[in-house]
Amino acid sequence: MTGRENGYHEPAEGRYVWLEFDGEEYRTYYEKAGTGDVPLVCLHTAGADSREYRHILEDEEIREEFTVYAFDMPWHGRSYPALETEWWEEDYELTTDFYAGFVMHFARTLGLDDAVVMGCSMGGEIVLELAAEYGDELDAVIGLETTDFVPGEERGYLGDLIDILRHPEIDQERFRPEWILGLQAPASPEHRKRETWWIYSQAGHGVYAGDIHFYAQEWDAREKVSNIDTEECGVHFLTGEYDFSGRPEDTTRVAERIDGSTLEIMDDMGHFPVVENPEAFLEYLRPVLSDVLDAR
């Protein structure tokens, strides 16, 4: 049992906002909680959605200082593809430009000035692009399980994985969550790890594959990261020691290239800290959020 009483409402409220971006219209779902002065925008992982951030949205201490926004990218969760396009006639493939542009368009449209952006996995990658290209509009970024480059075959994103993720003879509702389940740490609570499993069993067909196209194939920020100015936009990293996708050595390499960035390797944590072990993750996140507030 969670200890929540019957009838308890979580503080997050969900809404839909229509965003005109890149010549199309996107009905975009987001959840919002908190009364703090600082907007904190949270980016979900590949093939998943904003449900991953329910513990951040519920945390009282965070809500006092921040107003938390967690939105579903187009094609994910309760956000649709651009409904007036023939979206069903093409494979979905996320790109760096679309991803970064859409995050900034969300923030601008909602008037989230000097926001802090926190992203995990593919969200942990794109925060580097945001800091590099849009740092003057942001206060700070927090990268979870961040890497500037994924050597695909060494991390299990095999050359034919995208074909596997679209293969008609493979039950994607079962394969996808089982494929990512072991990215979580052995010590993380089984019930929380199965929450990740559940989210990953529910993506639209081909969406995880299209995100992996970005995450493990297109993405390469190895040259760009050294140009990030942490005086303009703070950069903080948290990476789990059991994450074999964005490995500690990967984030360490990135942090070493960005003067002024901070990095903490999280013990007994895997690739999905926000979901797999929220209590332990919050212990790592709180000092980072304090640093962000102190630097404003």
């Binding site: 991390r155 596997i164 293969h167 394969f175 089982e178 072991g182 990215l183 074999f244």
Partner: protein, 125 residues
């Protein structure tokens, strides 16, 4: 406990898996012969719609999928508290020296089934 790996150990795996309701769920409609190689020893298991039987090398002519790794790798993977990157079938395959051969579609179709079968390796040790 029987020596790992051995025919007696394989029988224990079969007993544990066939008593495991989660294995029965995950192995529904699964039909494949899977070879596991532990260094220079090997055992095969035949999945058959929710149940499993062991096969010694002399008892079968072929396999659909083969998972091969040195004993040291299996020991680390099957340990109670695996080190980082030894904690999942995917990680010992992609980060270390396990190889997966044969019909890759079958391997991915039965990925959850294989992981649950391997979980019963630990039960039988």
């Amino acid at each position: 406990m029987p020596e790992f790996p051995s025919a007696e150990w394989a029988n224990e795996v079969v007993r544990a898996a066939n008593d495991d309701p989660q294995f029965a769920r995950l192995a529904r409609h699964a039909h494949a012969t899977v070879l596991f190689e532990f260094g220079d020893q090997s055992v095969a298991f035949a999945l058959d719609d929710g149940t499993v039987e062991s096969r010694e090398p002399s008892d079968f002519a072929g396999w659909d999928v083969a998972l091969r790794a040195p004993m040291e790798t299996w020991e680390k993977y099957l340990s109670e508290s695996p080190e980082p990157f030894y904690n999942d079938l995917r990680s010992v395959w992609t980060q270390h020296d396990m190889t997966i051969e044969g019909d890759v579609v079958t391997a991915f179709q039965y990925w959850a089934t294989l992981k649950r079968l391997v979980a019963n390796f630990e039960v039988a040790r």
